[in-house]
């Protein structure tokens, strides 16, 4: 008997009252927001399970292959942990940061220099934000490589739509990071957002209108700052939160990770005789006759484990591990804060945030001057190419005609070509990002890593 059960028993015995009248029992689920730590009856104790959100997030049993670190690398969990960390570290920053062009820079300086733990908090928020962009992309790549957006065997699976939700969340994550980029109101922020929003104005016809809508005017000013701020602290996180909840719900509805489907396809499910010893315990609080179910091969003790505690523990490892790593990194990684934003002085080079640098690189590479004609690179690199990539990514589950037997399998032969193309595109993007980050100096000129950039002059 677990300790919890014993405590609960003790409490319920004490609460029975002098008359010894048990509380009224009624059939059906009782809608209650919270369950009691000190249940007065078995019914109350059972409610601890039926109304516990965390216990319903995960299935009761989970296949061992889905648990493997080397299948999913737990990238989704890590991303969710980063989002949690960003929310938690963002809350105190809300009290300290002032979204006004006169005060923003100063308030960030105060966070950096004199607020207790301010520098660390800001670093956590920044490092976690950059890390989230990376893990979201890695998660997406993992799902692509394993074809996990494909439906397996169960009925009513809608994995392709969960993939679409994922793509939308990727875009929201990028925009969250981008809106946060402006807030310190320093030169880095101002010009990165200038470059980023200028790309938007290359959309034919409506480009300038889109840019105006985005920045709330024709120049990056107070209207832009407050717009980005409100998007950053409320609408975008709320959007990610809602989509995340739906994303999780869909994973449950679709029968867990695609890996689990693969196993069921691989070995034909067979009925295993119900064994009298096979019971589900409900956190150890339910006593008496437990429901006995007919187990399928997948749920046999050999192939699966209980979600509580095994899955829960691993989720804990992923979440707390992420928090620990980000927290330690943030002690050592200083967040940049350049000169206050100045619309009159363009830093050379002016670079977009790093995750848009591959686009900026393409924009410059496709801007070609032929005599008096100019081929507008911003249209190709800023609109056509990313639009095409995102569009393809979104509809890919419907284009991918590989057999469903390979769902949840890393690099299957049947999906070799598309995986290679995906890798090629990914490597190309990474390469262009690296070039933009490290090899482009003043006037966007090429500098090898061993070549020094010209020194930036000071005033005095």
């Amino acid at each position: 008997m677990s300790l919890l059960t014993r405590v609960l028993k003790f409490r319920s015995a004490g609460k029975a009252g002098p008359a010894g009248v048990e509380p009224e029992e009624a059939p059906g689920v009782r809608p209650r927001l919270f369950w009691s730590l000190w249940p007065r009856s078995d019914r109350d104790a059972g409610d601890a399970v039926t109304s516990n959100f965390l216990l319903h997030w995960f299935p009761a049993k989970v296949s061992k292959s889905s648990m493997a670190w080397s299948y999913s690398f737990w990238l989704g969990t890590i991303t969710a942990a980063l989002f949690l960390l960003l929310t938690l570290s963002g809350l105190p920053l809300l009290f300290l940061y002032v979204p006004s062009v006169e005060r923003a820079y100063q308030s960030v300086k105060d966070i950096e220099y004199v607020i207790t733990f301010g520098r660390w908090l800001r670093a956590v928020h920044r490092v976690a934000a950059h890390a989230m962009v990376i893990t979201v992309v890695l998660h997406l790549a993992r799902v692509f490589f394993t074809g996990a957006y494909k439906n397996g065997i169960a009925r009513n699976q809608q994995r392709q739509w969960n993939w679409v939700i994922g793509v939308v969340m990727l875009l929201l994550t990028l925009f969250l990071s981008f809106t946060g980029y402006l807030l310190p109101w320093d030169q880095l922020a101002f010009w990165a957002v200038t470059v980023g929003t200028n790309i938007a104005s290359a959309i034919p016809g409506i480009g300038p209108t889109v840019r105006e809508l985005l920045i709330g005017g024709r120049a990056i000013e107070q209207a832009t700052l407050i717009r980005f701020y409100v998007l950053h602290i409320f609408f975008l996180p709320a959007g990610v939160g809602v989509l995340f909840a739906y994303h999780m719900w869909r994973v449950r509805k679709d029968g867990g990770l695609a890996r689990a489907d693969r196993e069921e396809i691989a070995e034909t499910p067979r009925d295993v005789a119900a064994s009298p010893t096979k019971t589900y315990t409900l956190l150890g609080v339910a006593r008496g006759t437990s429901p006995t179910v007919t187990a399928r091969s997948l749920e046999a003790p050999g192939t699966s484990v209980n979600a509580v505690p095994d899955l829960m523990r691993r989720a804990m490892i992923a979440t707390l591990g992420t928090i620990a790593v980000i927290s330690i990194l943030s002690v050592f990684i200083a967040s940049p804060l350049e000169e206050p934003a100045n619309a009159l002085i363009t830093p050379n080079p002016a670079k977009a945030p790093w995750y848009f640098l591959w686009l900026q690189e393409i924009v410059t590479d496709t801007t070609i001057h032929l005599g008096s004609f100019t081929i507008n690179g911003a249209f190709i690199g800023g609109v056509v190419l990313p639009g095409l990539l995102i569009g393809l990514l979104t509809v890919w589950p419907w284009i991918d005609k590989s057999p469903r037997q390979v769902t949840g399998d890393w690099f299957p032969r049947e999906r070799r070509t598309q995986n290679l193309v995906f890798i090629a595109v990914l490597v190309g993007i990474l390469l262009l990002t690296y070039i933009g980050m490290e090899l482009r100096g003043p006037y966007w000129e090429w500098f090898w890593p061993w070549e020094a950039w010209p020194t930036v002059p000071g005033r005095i």
Binding site: M1, S2, K64, M67, E102, Q106, K109, D110, E112, Y113, V114, T116, F117, R119, W120, D186, Q187, T277, K278, T279, T281, G284, R287, P301, G302, S304, V305, N306, P309, D310, R313, R314, M316, I317, L320, G321, I323, A324, V325, S327, I328, S330, V331, P336, L337, E338, E339, N342, L344, I345, P347, N348, T455, V456, P457, G458, R459, I460
Partner: protein, 403 residues
């Protein structure tokens, strides 16, 4: 009761969770420690020791601890310098070394610290509480502490601590002379003597041949061309080198080389960099009128030149560079030769007649007459006529002298 599945996970995952627990504790230790590790804690400890030694333990206990700041709402400045420089308002540390020296009383009488803070005069980054950041000797901070150390780095020939005078002159720019700002005063005298205003507009008054210098101090360091400057690449170094030899930095510059020595060039560079809009309330500006008005003699002389026989040369702008002694016209800059004997002078310099030279000028005059002073053929005829008249007077004077 509960049948446990034969799970392989606890054996591996529990130690892993334990390691993460240790990492979390470690991270707490690290970020607590990093938040505690500030230079000011050390300096406050040392200062308490110094006070205890000088005045006894009782007064040492009264020394304030924690981050201290002077908040000047009018200037929007929070100066935390006194967090380390705790002795500024203490008597008895006049001879001590920084950071524990008493601030001289005299400058504070006219500039009370609660109204001006520290960085408005000294430069540096008032927000910061660690030495390097606070002294502004870090990337992305353009107002370093204007200290003697910085003066030494620039090998100032005069007073090594003179750089702070740049900040004096932000408010005192219209003073003819500011007490205690010797370098700036020297530079202001040079501006008058060398007639910088002949070409440049300064404080909204002056010529338009050179760039307007009224707000040149706010020009960003990136906006200078350093390709011909060796050594430190800063706006200040650029100005010093440019003042010593303009053409060396800007090859097509028409600014003459005035032969300034190092001290003069450095003083002028300080003055030039101090010419930027003061972002202070009007009440902070020194009491002098808001433009530096010319003296009575200067006005009288200008009036005489404007109405005298040489008026044409004054109006046309020749006076910027050339005096015409015979007409009593005196150029403030005196860069070019006197025009009284231009008729024979041009012949001897260029081997051409004055008519020919003005029709097809060469050298500096080619630049000036094509860009700055554009003359119609009729105006050129007037010029030649007037120069011949001047030469006639000149010859008469010479003849008288010989006699």
């Amino acid at each position: 009761m509960e049948q446990r599945t034969n799970s392989p996970y606890p054996r591996v995952d529990r130690p892993m969770l334990a390691v993460i627990g240790v990492l979390l504790v470690l991270s707490c230790v690290l970020f607590f420690a990093s938040d505690r590790a500030h230079d000011w804690r050390y300096y406050q400890m040392v200062f308490q020791g110094e006070v205890a030694q000088k005045f006894g333990a009782e007064r040492a206990d009264a020394v304030t601890t924690g981050i201290q700041q002077i908040w000047v709402a009018d200037l929007g400045r929070a100066d935390r310098c006194i967090t380390c420089h705790q002795a500024t308002s203490w008597k008895g540390f006049e001879q001590a070394d920084e950071p524990f020296r008493t601030h001289p009383v005299e400058p504070l009488q006219a500039h009370p610290v609660e109204k001006f803070g520290c960085t408005a005069c000294h430069g540096g980054q008032g927000w910061a509480v660690d030495v390097l950041e606070a002294h502004g000797e870090v990337a992305h901070w353009e107002e370093p502490l204007l200290s003697e150390t910085l003066g030494q780095a620039y090998s100032l020939t005069g007073n090594k601590g003179a750089l702070i005078q740049m900040n004096c002159n932000i408010c005192h720019r219209y003073d003819r002379e500011t007490r205690g700002a010797d370098a700036i005063n020297l530079a202001k005298r040079l501006v008058d003597e060398k007639g910088c205003r002949a070409c440049h507009t300064i404080n909204n008054r002056g010529g338009r041949i050179g760039p307007d210098l009224t707000r040149v101090g706010e020009k960003a360091p990136e906006q200078y061309d350093y390709s011909r400057l060796s050594g430190q690449q800063t706006a200040f170094a650029w100005h010093v080198a440019h003042l010593k030899n303009p053409k060396a930095l800007t090859t097509d510059s028409t600014m003459p080389n005035f032969g300034f020595n190092s001290e003069q060039a450095q003083a002028l560079a300080m003055l030039v960099l101090s010419w930027r809009p003061a972002d202070v309330p009007a009440a902070y500006l020194a009491g002098a009128p808001r433009t530096d008005t010319p003296t009575a003699e200067q006005i009288a002389e200008e009036e005489r030149m404007r109405t005298g026989p040489g008026a044409w040369f004054v109006e046309t702008g020749c006076v910027t560079c050339h005096s015409i002694q015979v007409y009593g016209v005196r150029s403030p800059a005196q860069i070019g030769p006197d025009l009284s004997n231009a008729v024979e002078d041009v012949q001897s310099r260029f081997g051409r007649t004055i008519d020919d030279f003005l029709a097809e000028p060469s050298g500096t005059m080619a630049v000036v007459l094509s860009r700055q002073i554009i003359l119609t053929p009729e105006q050129k005829a007037v010029a030649i006529q007037k120069l011949r008249e001047a030469f006639a007077i000149y010859q008469k004077q010479q003849a008288e002298k010989e006699r």
